[in-house]
Symmetry: D2
Subunit: 343 residues, 4 copies
């Protein structure tokens, strides 16, 4: 960062692009731009339906092509990123682009229905679309029932469901899938103020993001959050020579790990083993002691139980870890960059 | 409740009882006492090791008999309780009896080890015991690592891991198992100020409780919380003619459902379906609308991933439900009884 | 066994008994009779509906009381059986009592429907009953479709779905549940000519059996096999001082282990670990070598994916084990008793 | 096929190729050759270690690069194949190229060990390699224990663990993964004489195969079969306009479906739903009737419980389906081509 403030990249989104021209994978696509570590990126993301669902009469199965769901913005080539490094992405702001969002049921998708993987003989649940007004000033997301006149105002809590890099082993993965490269984890922890750490698998990392949610419950039970296009600002940086096996996050108060697989207890196990090892490393404790400390202090919210595999989160308050230096102090430094940019 | 305040039962615990004389099942044992709905019960519970683990040199496999783990206090016969009713138990206070607690690893038990059910060829992890000092005034639980000099103070947050009634279908279940009768759910939500609702399966309900924890992480990862004997006060009441298929809880801020089974996603599904139906009933919404509202608002913390089956929790803030009457207003009434008793 | 042949017990079944007077649990009921090891028992079992479903117009939800499903014959108190012993039960013959059987769908039960544990928002699948004619001479089970005129003749292959002893830890378990005490494993391997080994948990073992199937597919996909009352002859014996952690079977050609839990991969793991350890013990190989040999030779058919937990089987041909003595030669000895009885 | 017999392609394998020059994915690589439907392909495959493990002193972690495991032969571009078609591959012969095979344990891989996905705190099991002599005349696979002098001769039963096409949704998947595109299903049903049906996702289908096993147990418990290079002959054909959602197989006696996901019960559900629908279509029965018939007749062996997701198989004997025409009679026609080629 120079005295004149951080380098800033504005990456414009073409909201009227044909869905078939957008990108829907991690890996397998050419980077849109190359950026230096330390850059502040100001960009936008389409909603998971590429804007095709706009009212309660738009049903996903009618207005969307199943090949073109969950478009991503990117990928960004990060200069100097090599396999074995960690990419750090600090979310400065995530704000709905418009004053509305939608949610839906989708046939054979969701946690409380038979699906293509929990294959059953039931016909699909009814397909419906809910329209939400978003008040960006009062920070309210307005729910209105379809079958009665019940309404409720829910807190606006914007986040990105899908954040990731190109996967290892030459794989190319759909933006519908979560895994160790990140992807469609759908955790509400991915909000502004948080730093996300992702292991780099290919030169340049090839970072992308999308799937903005005005808010979601833990688990994303029906499979669809309050989906909306987002204006997002993030800072990108690198931690050279430090691998990160599974995506991690850091907020001012918590260190956070994730695990994505099925069954859900295995996703829990991944997140917890990652946390035990991280706490051992941060505090200098033995693995068994860290296992004990994590067992008494972890919060363990579900992220999603609806995607191709499921995602669990483990959160341990930094306050119980003592005076530790997390990821070489990256979170604090990136907050500084964000502050410099805001100023 | 008469003008002179609620009826109060003091049920004394014999802390020096031989472990083989205690009770370890839900169902299959005679009630210790009969109580009327509305009664305030003041009693105590032993820790899950019946007090046999008292220092870092006490290993579970050496000092405990595997047939005598997790003794329960009770069962209490509730007058008038019949199958199809709901038992309400409001926890007035849950306080450690002594200034210490213990946690341990147990061979082939816990979420991050092979077990008798996730059967693998690994030898067991090392067996260890951690000793915690509990400061009941400053409300701190003092952790000390075994292999280094790392220490931390964790917030005291007392709760009961095991709370339940006799199961249906003439079954008798070990106090190590959770299920639709309650039992060893190990959710930190079971704390003072909360009301627990349990479906009645047999005349008198036969309510028992035990397994006090000074605190635990969500998931109880290593299988053992900060275990301690408790002094506990609770109020018991009945909701006649209202069945409760899976245990529910209510706090001032949340309605809470539980589900217990494996794999963990099925426990999630049970808790979420219970919540969708409860929200539909409370708000008059259709089931699909309730599915949508729950999807955007639920918190979904893990309870345990270590017991014979696993337990998930769903929590929805009452604030998004409007002006609803939960369980005929039982929670508020029981808080009133608690206040009268305290006075 | 005296020169005059084995001791024989004929235990008569009251087919017209009221369902509420029958037994539906393992544990929790008094033995019907005491028998000496070596006894040949000739008895009968009711079908899982206690005979209440007799035609395509009898629907389970209309003619059966959910509290009275899957009645068992027994329990038999085996003299001398103590915890830590193994009970051996050799099935001499299992024959349908009548020339018919039934199968059904049951609302919210089965592998391809939402259930009480895989809780979803779908309404139940339609409830239907299929009637099978059983030709005990030609050994055919006659299937007739309900909605078309399609018919097929399937091979008669009679077996018991439910075979077990009283569980450990003072538990009483429904006859709908499988576990380490046996119970409702629903494996087609439990046929005549096979010896079943069960660990003894309580004095006398308290052996019961029921749930006869004229045949079933592996997995019992819809949850209900071709259910029929059975005339069954079995020999009972004891292997003193030899524990059996999970039910095992032995045929002339195979050693067979079982595991019952969820998720299904954990049931697989239990059965495979049991087999690895059994093969290591039988052949004197190290555990890793046995792991290798089992990996290349095991057959791994599903038993059931529909009961309260699921059951997997592992089968290794004796031919690859060399000249081994299985369970002290019990299978051959019991076949001798059976032959003596038949003579 | 002309009077002069089927078209034949001989595709030579370079056994000394550098592992980094081979292909390890389904999708993402250019076809090696274009073939017409009806062609007989005679080719070879390397073993999953690319021939790097050749004796008991070769440990996978020492001689193999984890980026270069399970090389595939192909992909073959099939002329005329379009999304929505079905590719039929009939295996004429699968024969070990040499008189030996190997199996191993691999750290943190296998069904009876903690893994990267069933993440636990155990250290890995010991790493070992077993060497098998293969007698191609007597058809024996010679097992020798490492820690004792135990030996056994197992039946030779050659098969391909990995068979598939390019996946849908622009994904590129590692050859270690099974899924709806086929891939690393590891079912012993994939042997000579069988026809495999795969849904086409991209123009030309891009069929590849590899991972030959001299034999394997059901489940591939330790994660590694008796691995060997293979000489393989197969016929390729197309069924235009018929989609196949999940890989299916057909032998002279059985129709066979597969499902690949976790947990294992969901893989079972996929295979069973596919079979129910296939049986309904083949016999003209209603879906509920087919559900019933499959429930009484399916064999349900495990394929693998070790790969990135698990694979289950469902097998129904054609004998219970009456006089049905499976996949337009493709299996019989391809056997005819194979016979013409052999002549």
């Amino acid at each position: 960062m120079s005295a004149s403030g951080p380098e800033v990249l504005r990456h414009e989104l073409d909201e009227d692009a044909d869905p078939s021209s957008l990108i829907y994978t991690f890996g397998g696509v050419e980077p849109v731009v190359s950026i230096r570590p330390g850059t502040v990126v100001s960009t936008s993301t389409l909603d998971c339906f590429a804007g095709r669902v706009r009212s309660t009469s738009d049903l996903v199965s009618q207005v969307c092509d199943p090949r073109f769901i969950n478009p991503q913005t990117g990928p960004f080539y990060v200069e100097g990123a090599e396999p074995g490094d960690t990419l750090a992405v600090h979310f400065v702001s995530i704000e709905p682009r418009a004053a509305w969002g939608v949610s839906t049921t989708v046939p054979l998708f969701g946690a409380l229905t038979g699906t293509g993987f929990t294959a059953l003989l039931h016909p699909p649940l009814p397909e419906r679309t809910w329209f939400y007004e978003i008040d960006r000033v009062s920070r309210g997301v307005h729910y209105a029932a379809l079958d009665t006149d019940f309404t409720a105002v829910l807190p606006l809590d914007p986040m990105h469901g899908t954040v990731g890099v190109a996967p290892p082993l030459r794989e190319v993965r759909s933006s519908l899938a979560p895994g160790d490269w990140g992807g469609n984890m759908d955790t509400p922890e991915m909000r502004a103020g948080v730093t996300c750490y992702l292991g780099v698998n290919v030169p340049g990392a090839l970072f992308s993001l999308g799937d903005g949610h005005a808010r979601q419950g833990e688990g994303e039970t029906c499979g669809v959050a309050v989906e909306c296009a987002m204006d997002t600002v993030f800072v990108v940086d690198l931690i050279k020579g430090v691998p990160t096996p599974w995506p991690r996050l850091e907020s001012d108060e918590y260190v956070i790990t994730t695990g994505s697989t099925k069954p859900l207890e295995d996703a829990f196990r991944i997140a917890q083993v990652q946390m035990v090892r991280w706490v051992a490393e941060l505090t200098g404790q033995s693995e068994l002691d860290a296992y004990q400390l994590v067992s008494q202090t972890t919060l363990s919210p579900v992220a999603n139980v609806v995607d191709t595999v499921y995602t669990m989160v483990a959160k341990v308050p930094k306050s119980v870890l003592g005076d530790v230096l997390v990821m070489q102090g990256m979170h604090a430094r990136m907050k500084g960059v964000a502050a410099a940019w805001s100023a």
